[in-house]
């Protein structure tokens, strides 16, 4: 940087924006909260409502009524909100009246991050001391295994929110390494609570598919329903037990509804796979799509319905055969500058 020697005073004027956003003292925030509460009660009295049960929505409605504004930007209109929403959560001024900072690591610049590292290292030393004591007394170290899977460490952004200051990538990775080192020690059970503060539960991603039980109609025949989609066609199928292999689509027999052999083969494939061709009856309704799409939709629906009749092993076989997977292929959109989804316009040399 250049050092300013022979310059005018105008250039050396304090750069107002360089110090960052204005920091609020705790006393200031408290005063704002008191004023807000008082103002809320006054507003309730003005509107003729009960001050005790005056919620934020009532405040918003009252302000919109008393100060109507035609401004487009909703955030530019007059609003009355709790000070914690108005003033962003940030560090208040770090030093007291005499200038002495409050935190003992203030001069490092990243006081919360370094104090966190200091505490974590202290826990590590505690655990090591405890371990040494146990070894000296010849006692076994670890009692039971901890569940490591199903939890993850805090992300960098969550850590930044917790510490209210910026954390760089290197700092974050160092902190995670220290935590892992602490968690890996055999006697880390002592500091379990501290470690849990920085780990989060990973929600179970796989949802166990529930196979519905068989339902029984008036005649006592077992049946089950299934739904399927393919391209734009959606179908529902009801599969009855103790049948002769009759299949009806939208009230019409399949021979008349699907004249093409390929579509009928698609319908019969789940039954053929399980070896139950003549044993089940099926009644289905289908709408949308074309000939082949409707056939595929009914196939998926019937396979889903057949899950209830069949053992888990056979369900797994069906899944591996691809009978239970929804076909994700749909019509690709046409792009501008091209004639179709992939076809480009004819290229002319001149």
């Amino acid at each position: 940087t250049l050092r300013l020697i022979c310059t005018t005073t105008a250039v050396q004027r304090k750069n107002v924006g360089a110090s960052g956003p204005e920091k609020y003292t705790e006393a200031f925030i408290k005063k704002q909260i008191e004023e807000f509460n008082l103002g809320k009660r006054h507003l309730a009295n003005m509107m003729g409502e009960d001050p005790e049960t005056f919620t934020q929505e009532d405040i918003d409605r009252a302000i919109a009524y008393l100060f109507p504004s035609g401004l487009f930007d909703k955030q530019a209109r007059p609003m009355m909100k709790h000070p914690t929403e108005v003033f962003p959560e940030q560090r208040k001024i770090q030093w007291g009246e005499d200038g002495r900072p409050f935190h003992f690591l203030f001069y490092t610049g990243k006081q919360s991050y370094y104090s966190l590292m200091h505490e974590t290292y202290e826990k590590l030393l505690n655990v090591q001391k405890h371990q040494d004591q146990l070894i000296a007394q010849d006692l076994p170290l670890q009692k039971e295994k901890r569940n490591l899977a199903g939890s993850r460490w805090l992300t960098k952004i969550e850590l930044e929110e917790m510490l209210l200051e910026k954390v760089s990538d290197d700092d974050y990775s160092r902190f995670i390494q220290l935590l892992q080192k602490l968690a890996a020690l055999p006697c880390a059970d002592i500091e379990e609570k501290y470690i849990l503060k920085f780990s989060k539960e990973v929600p179970v991603q796989l949802q166990k598919v529930v196979i519905e039980p068989l339902q029984y109609d008036e005649r006592g025949v077992a049946f089950s329903t299934g739904e399927g989609k393919r391209k734009t066609a959606s179908a529902t199928a009801v599969v009855y037990d103790n049948g002769t292999g009759k299949i009806t689509v939208n009230g019409i027999d399949i021979l008349h509804y699907f004249p093409v052999l390929q579509d009928r083969e698609q319908l019969l494939f789940p039954f053929q796979f399980l070896g139950r061709i003549g044993k089940h009856d099926m009644v289905c309704t289908v709408s949308g799509g074309g000939r082949s799409a409707q056939a595929g939709a009914i196939r998926l629906a019937s396979a889903k319905a057949l899950r209830s009749f069949v053992t888990e092993k056979e369900v797994e076989f069906m899944r591996q055969a691809g009978l239970l997977t929804v076909d994700p292929r749909v019509k690709e959109r046409k792009k501008p500058g091209q004639e179709g989804p992939r076809r480009k316009f004819t290229w002319k040399k001149r």
Binding site: K14, A18, S19, G20, K23, I93, Q94, W95, D98, G99, R100, P101, F104, L105, F106, Y107, T108, G109, K110, Y114, H118, Y121, E122, L125
Partner: protein, 216 residues
């Protein structure tokens, strides 16, 4: 108030720091052990007692005098309510020094030193920051065996420094050097204990004097 501040300056050893340590304590804490002859810094030669099998031995008599001056100075600074910042870049003792600083009620910086901390403080921290009134170096070298940037910065900003200089350190810019070992845990624990006791003693003395003044 004037009397509170001027009275300690009339005595050579107002806080009686001499009784906090003896030559035997320094020897037991292995303060006299220096580095090898090849690592020796030219300006440390006056402080070295001798060399035995290529190992430098620091003169503990001189160390005693320097230590007494340094502790007396820190006591005076703490008595007048100054901010003391402990600096060291040794990873081994980082936790110990931070705990010592917290116990005294003073401040510590044993992490990576950002360039503009002292010279660019008003931009880094905000307008109206109060800079430290004394820097105490428990190890003057950083992790690359070069003099710590804070020594030069403190000299630039007119902040007095107290530092433990080992045989491979440059004692030039430090106002109150203390020739002694900065690598053994025993020596570091001794220094931390001494600084902690002086600062707490000075602060207690200040509180007592203020109470006495209030009563009058």
């Amino acid at each position: 108030d004037d009397r509170l501040l001027s009275e300690p300056l009339n005595h050579p050893d107002f806080f009686n720091v001499k009784e906090l340590f003896t030559l035997k304590d320094l020897f037991d804490a292995r303060v006299h052990l220096g580095h090898k002859k090849g690592c020796r810094h030219r300006f440390m030669e006056p402080y070295i007692f001798g060399c035995r099998l290529d190992h430098d031995i620091i003169d503990l008599d001189q160390t005693m005098q320097h230590l007494q001056l340094a502790l007396n100075f820190t006591a005076h600074v703490a008595y007048r309510g100054g901010i003391i910042l402990f600096v060291s870049r040794k990873r081994q003792f980082c936790h110990l020094i931070e705990s010592t600083a917290r116990a005294c009620g003073e401040y510590a910086h044993t992490r990576f030193w950002q360039g503009g901390l002292l010279t660019n403080a008003h931009v880094q921290f905000g307008p109206g920051v109060r800079l430290p009134d004394l820097l105490v170096f428990l190890s003057t070298l950083n992790n690359v065996f070069e003099p710590h940037v804070a020594i030069r910065d403190a000299a630039k900003v007119n902040i007095p420094t107290v530092g433990v200089v080992d045989t491979n350190c440059n004692p030039c810019l430090i106002s109150y050097p203390i020739p002694g070992n900065d690598d053994s845990p025993a020596a570091m624990e001794l220094y931390c204990k001494l600084f902690r006791m002086t600062i707490i003693r000075a602060k207690d003395k200040r509180r007592q004097s203020e109470a006495v003044e209030e009563l009058r």
